[in-house]
Amino acid sequence: MTAALLVATALMGLAGTAAGAIAPVRFRIALSSALTIAACALGFVVGAEVLHSGHAAVVHTTTLMPLASFSLALDRFGALFVVITAVVGICAMIFRFGYDGQGLASRTASSILPLFVTSLLLVPAASNVTTFLFLWELMAITSLLLVLTDHARRSEVQVAGQWYAVMTQLGAAALILGLVLLATRSGSQSFAVIAVRSAHLPAWVRSTAFVLAVVGFGSKAGAVPLHVWLPRAHPEAPGPVSALMSAAMVNLGVYGIVRVGMGLLSGGPAWWWLLVMGLGALSAMFGSLHSATSKDLKRLLAYSTTDNVGLMLLGVGASGLFADTGHRALALLALVAALLHVVFHAVFKGSLFLSASSVHQAAGSTDLDQLGGLLRRMPVSGPIFLVGGLAIAALPPFCGFVSEWLLLQSMLHGLPSGDVAIAVAMPIGVGVLALTGGLTAFTFTKAIGIGLLGLPRTQDAERAGEVGRPMWIGAGLLAVLCLVFGVAPFLVIPSVVDAAGAVPGLHLAGALTRGWNVALPGVPGMLAPGLVAIGLVGFGGLVALGRHLVQQRPVRLTEAWGCGRELQTVRMEYTATSFGEPLTRVFEDVLSPARDVDVSHLAESRYYTEAAVIHTTIDDAFERRVYRPADRMLVRWGAVARRVPNGSVHRYLAFGLVALIVVLVVLA
């Protein structure tokens, strides 16, 4: 039954692709989106059914690909990711009905988008190396083409596309090497067989395969230092695509690390997991610092994705570390926390990216310094962004709070385990979690306060109005989920526990939920998100009522105080740059911002200033220190190498001869 549905999902997605390619312009978007929604709905049903029953959905055929079988087997762990992708996909496609992206309406984009969503849905189901790599590459290439949608209009898109192409292909190369190494050494390309035989492989094979997998999947997840494509590609991709990439695609990087590290290799030595935790800590710190100082809304969200991926990797690494030292229950707890964060991140980041695109469409910019006052002008999309922002800042009663709490708990309870590696790693983990928590609150106070509140800073922002209904429905569904999961996490936690339990060797003694509350087995005290929400609403209502009763005169609208000046103008308002300035200064050594002051003088006398303009740019340190020099070096080598083939046929014949001799010598 589930197998048939899985096939139907794929076919429905392909139907969407076909519809995008051949349907007449008038129905193109509607038809391809509707078919993609249907594919996501089918995927959701399969995923939910597998999660519920625990019976894998298996599809196996040898006719689709030459020399290799095409094989899908969706277990509970993969099913969780399918469900996440399906929900995000449905919302993004609903959003697309109202989205005014000229590029995304084209024939190419309309046919590729369903293919991208389908590959996202199927990757977690792949159960042999060929199938996995095929679907993985399909996902990489379709997403690259979608990032390039608007390449003709803006040159930044081309640059973003180049970065993304290089990073994703480097990652894919690492993955191919790692997985092929595993497959050849264990004599089978089936994941199930590799999982059984991998225990007998030599340690260097296992470790090499794992490190290669971490590099490959880490680049897809956007983990530092492989994140450089993310803050470029996400802002340039059309709205629904960036939401899908950030809320569904990066998850698969985390999926892959768990699948290979804990599934295929059944866990490994402590240093593997310390490596994962280290990458996670670095990503979380670096991402949250850069998102705190970014002034472009989408760039800020992209860096915050890196930050959140870091938190997920912290959880995954902690889980592996616990499993390695024999703390099975703690290992599961940490993995559940990480996966729960994957789920919640998808929900809030999806709604944030979609509503940021709404803002872009309404106000013509995502530069926070060009926005402002949008909450009054966009009475639905504004609150959606507000909810997403509060959720990502881990504030109750929204969902981010629950997963961060669980992550903190898993580290707290891991501490007394007596192992030195754990004793060093966990306090650092908590410190990172805490610092990113504070920085995220800062970031989204800035994003909401500068972008949505106050005075509009430009004419475009002044004239902005609410976007079309499909757009706010798509983003709004995810925002509603932020609240629902934040108040009633018991709706999702058992499924996540089931999914994590599918990883071999982990088990939990007892449930993580007690009624509406989140509780750890055998530990007094619980987290009561529902109660917190009721308390907030109840006390808030009482306070508001009290305020109304003591002062019933209507609220008087006044001019805000402008330091004694007659009129308050937009020029006096704080901007995103000025808001982030104290933090930029505190972390000056890490961020090394470049300041550029242009002062122009009056013609009559140079002692009087006519205008002063300050530009602050914060470059990505990894881009500046690692990637740019590497890029320059490659170009230089290329120039040298170009001199070797100079077009002379004699020289090419000589090359051939030398190559032949070398081959003969090697063979002999």
Binding site: G373, L412, L415, G431, L433, I448, F539, W561, C563, V570
Partner: protein, 320 residues
């Protein structure tokens, strides 16, 4: 944990805690002001002056800047509500108020953070330079104080194997020797620094300044008037009481009621009042003797707190 505690008594304790925080907050501020004035050789206003101020503000007209949205009037309500939720469920007077099992230290921190974020958003909503300035500075300090606070909490939670507040307090009462361990002392210092920073006291922020360049907390409430201003001021004092009481209960828990009954509660009330008076007087005396730090020196202070908290966690592992 809820052995022998009837629902009525637990609800009564919660109610009493809420009342204590609402009334005690302004009184504590008044008391601290009195101490300061006395130290500076002035008579000073009566201790209950902040309560009178609140009554006066409540009778005035509410105003709203014309460009502000619904966030502006909502912010004070959220700010007060978050503090009240903490006051109701946290073990301030007794180890088992209603829903005490849900009083998790991390949850308390995030609830208070929600209040801070909502005030910052209310300030940004005014669209003035001051609102932005105050919000930016307050959030910077908050972002840096949070790591120190969470790691200090971790140090307290490790020996108790739980971050549940009543559990930590009950276990500390059962093992008084814990309170003198190095990690407690280190965590205590970190806590104090964070509380001073979070509640906007000297040397981080001067609550009585109205000089534009030095304002942090005051800058955020410039546009509030009437009952809204009263709520923001009330919340400020309530947060101070909640943080002080938690500090006292975590590090010197004696006096807190461990079983229901009016007698125990009376003792708890008296001891809490005593602890608050001592802490308030200490902070007031300290405030008289120090000058405000430059804004960009504050991160150093908070980084110090973070280091102390980390040391506290590490010493929980070294010292069994």
């Amino acid at each position: 944990m809820s052995t022998g505690w009837s629902i009525t008594s637990m609800s009564a304790i919660s109610l009493l805690q809420v009342v204590l925080v609402i009334v005690g907050g302004p009184l504590l501020l008044g008391f601290m002001r009195k101490v300061r004035c006395r130290m500076e050789g002035r008579v000073g206003p009566p201790v209950h002056q902040p309560l009178l101020d609140l009554r006066k503000m409540a009778g005035r007209e509410r105003t709203r800047p014309e460009h502000a949205s619904w966030v502006f009037p909502l912010a004070p309500v959220v700010l007060v509500a978050t503090t009240l939720v903490v006051a109701a469920v946290a073990p301030l007077l007794a180890t088992d108020p209603a829903f005490g099992w849900s009083a998790d230290l991390f949850a308390v921190v995030f609830l208070l953070l929600l209040g801070s974020v909502s005030l910052a958003l209310g300030a940004l909503d005014t669209g003035t330079a001051f609102g932005g300035m105050g919000a930016s500075r307050a959030m910077t300090i908050g972002a840096l104080a949070e790591p120190a606070l969470l790691v200090a909490i971790l140090a307290l939670s490790v020996p108790a194997h739980s971050s549940n507040l009543p559990t930590i307090i009950i276990r500390s009462l059962a093992h008084p020797a814990w309170l003198a361990t190095p990690e407690r002392v280190l965590a205590l210092v970190a806590f104090v620094i964070v509380i001073v920073a979070e509640s906007g006291r000297l040397p981080v922020d001067n609550p009585s300044t109205h000089l534009e360049l030095t304002m942090i907390h005051e800058a955020m409430m410039l546009e509030y008037a009437g009952p809204d201003l009263a709520l923001v001021k009330l919340a400020e004092s309530m947060r101070l009481v909640v943080l002080f009481t938690l500090l006292a209960d975590l590090f010197v828990p004696w006096g807190i009621a461990t079983s229901p009954g009016p007698w125990h509660l009376a003792v708890a009330l008296a001891s809490t009042a005593g602890k608050l008076v001592v802490l308030g007087a200490a902070l007031a005396v300290f405030e008289v003797t120090v000058a405000k730090l430059r804004l960009f020196r504050v991160p150093e202070l908070l980084a110090g707190a973070f280091v102390l908290a980390t040391l506290a966690v590490l010493s929980t592992l070294v010292v069994p």
